[in-house]
């Protein structure tokens, strides 16, 4: 839309267009203000240079109405920019459930992407065009930031928690992907590519990668291997909350807190269960902090999520 502008970067996602329009509007406003200031300085500077014949009589003494005038004018303009900007931000940063959920693990100087089917890739992200993609971002070490300039999207990846990001890529192609938060020596080389493909190509690509176990299936194995199923399984005699259908619901905790069971919550529950004792259950779960890698956590959470789509009766 704005490609007639000089030096304009490519735009390849819905978020990009929204942010472009806002930026161009602000750019126009800024240029107008700048032109006004430059114009005033230049004309006053010329007309009222020392020794010029222009009259200096009747200096404006009362200044407050001018000041009130431009205070309110600038404030109103600012308010418009603020509302518009906030509107787009809330839309861009409130992540709806996507057609496709991809887990991202950042660690010093590489990005790892895990597709729901179990396909993993490093520094390259294949996504289908026209579908809304939801990324769940995790970091293994320091703060990174996933930045895709062509989508005009950026989000910090904070260790110890999950952040989410969503977009709908529009135009197939290869776009640059970068780490925008300084993360160490090779920060500048923590880059990669987002490859947007038409959906059939994407399906073909997934197939070519080989159908392994899906993330949820890997998670199920881990669920058993780590002994989670001993308590949370259907046949367990231990009094532990069932995980079937828990994802996305509101959970009432022992201390009166109510939490939405999203990825962040599940992650915290696994790592630090005592702070998240569910109301009516004994605090018996051992904590797994330091024992599970970010990959393990992602698999477990993918598994717990997958329980939502199964019938409540056929719980594990």
């Amino acid at each position: 839309m704005y490609h007639w502008m000089p030096f304009w970067p490519r735009t390849a996602a819905n978020t990009g267009h929204a942010i472009n329009s806002l930026f161009v509007a602000e750019l126009a406003l800024s240029l107008a203000v700048l032109a006004m200031v430059v114009g005033m300085i230049a004309s006053f500077g010329f007309v009222y240079r020392r020794g010029s014949a222009a009259s200096r009589a009747d200096l404006t003494k009362k200044t407050w109405h001018f000041e009130i005038g431009w205070t309110s004018a600038t404030f109103l303009l600012f308010l418009v920019a603020f509302i518009w900007g906030s509107y787009v931000y809330i839309w861009a940063y409130q992540t709806p459930p996507g057609n496709l959920e991809i887990y991202v693990v950042a660690k010093q100087f590489m990005w790892k992407f895990e597709h729901p089917g179990g396909q993993r890739e490093i520094d390259t992200l294949h996504v289908p065009a026209g579908q809304s993609i939801r990324l769940v971002l995790a970091s293994e070490d320091v703060i990174h930031a996933l930045y895709i300039p062509a989508f005009r999207l950026q989000r910090d990846v904070i260790p110890g928690t999950y952040e989410t990001l969503w977009f709908k890529a529009e135009r197939p192609g290869t776009y640059r992907l970068e780490c925008a938060e300084f993360c160490g020596t090779q920060h500048a080389h923590m880059d990669g590519a987002v490859i947007v493909m038409p959906p059939p190509d994407y399906a073909r690509w997934l197939a070519e990668r080989g159908i392994h176990e899906s993330l949820a299936e890997q998670g199920e194995k881990l669920f058993r291997a780590r002994g989670c199923s001993g308590c949370h399984g259907a046949n367990s005699t231990v009094h532990a909350p069932s995980l079937v259908g828990v994802y996305g619901t509101l959970v009432h905790l022992q201390d009166g807190t109510v939490r939405r069971a999203d990825e962040k919550y599940l992650r915290e529950c696994i790592l630090n269960p005592r702070s998240f004792t569910v109301a009516g259950y004994p605090p018996v779960m051992p904590d797994f902090s330091g024992q599970l890698s970010e990959d393990d956590l992602i698999e477990l959470i993918a598994y717990i999520r997958s329980l939502n789509s199964q019938n409540a009766g056929s719980a594990p």
Partner: protein
Amino acid sequence: MSVEAAQPADFAQPSYLDSGHTIRSWLLTTDHKRIAMMFLASITFWFFIGGMAATLVRLSLATPDGLLQPDIFNRAFTMHGIIMVWLFLIPSIPATLGNFFVPIMIGAHDLAFPRLNLLSLYVFNLSGLVVLYAVLLGGVDTGWYFYTPYSTLYSNSYVFAAAMAIFINGYSSILTGLNFVVTVHKLRAPGMTWSRLPLFVWAIYAVSVVMLLATPALAMDMILLGADRIMGLGMFDPSRGGDPLLWQHMFWFYSHPAVYIMILPGMGVVSEVISCYSRRPIFGYGGMATSMMAIAVLGFFVWAHHMFTAGISIYSAVVFSLMSFVVGVPSAIKVFNWTVSLHKGSIIFDAPMIYAIGFILLFTIGGLTGLMLATLAVDIHVHDTYFVVAHFHYIMVGGAVSAFFAGLHYWWPKITGRLYPEAVARFTALLTFVGFNVTFFPQFVLGYLGMPRRYYAYPPQWQSWNVLSSAGASILAVAYALPLFYLGWSLLYGKRAGPNPWGATGLEWTTPSPPPEHNFAVTPVVTLGPYSYDPEDGSYRTQDGTHYAL
């Protein structure tokens, strides 16, 4: 332009420069003017050290692969940040021009606590030495903002020494701020009411408030960082329950107001200069003073706009964005008031005025791009890119450093008793403006194209912009080095200046150039507000009421 006038005859005291020639009489002085001069020498030294680091950075970025090793590049930009922020910009105007002129402008014989003032100087230089120590050990590679957990757990560099340097440096800021606040409250000459304070004094007062109330939070943050770093505590370590964003909250609680510490004194200087060189009262004195205090206070409500993409809640992001726009309003008032202050003036384009007009233009660009960054959605894209780098350099270098040079030239005759060479100074002022824009404007483009900050290597398609920026930096380097030579030259060979070479109205121009040790033989009595210029006949009145016809 220069007004020839004899030194006041009743004044037999030697100037502050002549009241003792031993090294001891300088190093142990309690005279605010001598301390200001030593601060000036110190920050000039640090400015060139920080400038060397900048040179390394710009040199390295001339090629896509980077000329420097990544580790060295990372250390260079960190050093550039730390030195320029804490060892140059924060004390630049307050500790030199402020130190020198605030007491004189309010008609006081010295600052309220001269020994604390001297202590501030030594604490400041001690912190500088600790920074140098960190550099000599092997440098710091975390960036000047020390984001955890990189700085606490992962960085292989001398974070602790740097953090302690900044902790120590904070005491220098606090001592200076303390002194200014009490001085302005307690030591104003008879008749110097709050509504007669020159805007420069208002600016320094506002800045002191910010220094005093922001710095302690940083100090505590640095203590926690140091404890995490060397004792292995987990205050910011997510694997042990700490929150990495807590560091950012406390850091930006200081470091955003710190931006106002850098720019507010510049606003004060520019107000003085604009009024003097357009020979008319500043437009809207009350609005100017109020807006400076408003910036100082509102500046504390906006810090998390550095964290819009960092995982803060959407609700608080919206609030911080709104406050960031609100703090833009007083800045906008100031730009308009300065501009309109040219209307019906009798404008003289001497070097300080050229710097001041450059300040207005660059500050306007910096401010407008600041609004783009305050706009939440735009920030999603340009956060942590060169767009941000360009924006804050427009404010801090284009703004604050230009204002520093404006003030240095404007008050040079008062400080040294000598006039600087006008023609070469005008040329340097223009060169600064050009060099600055060539250096930093390309970075806006680079940022919007998506080049993140702190990259030692980048894709080749961005090289031309980077080369342009580096070329501009070399122009800028010349423009910043030139004053060192011609101002130094003027110390020995410059024409002697009378007490009031520019025909300005502040109390500082009623005392001889250079001023005697205690500034005034008799405490002046103030009868007028500042800026009593009459553009119609060119006459003016100094604040003690004396009328001069030009």
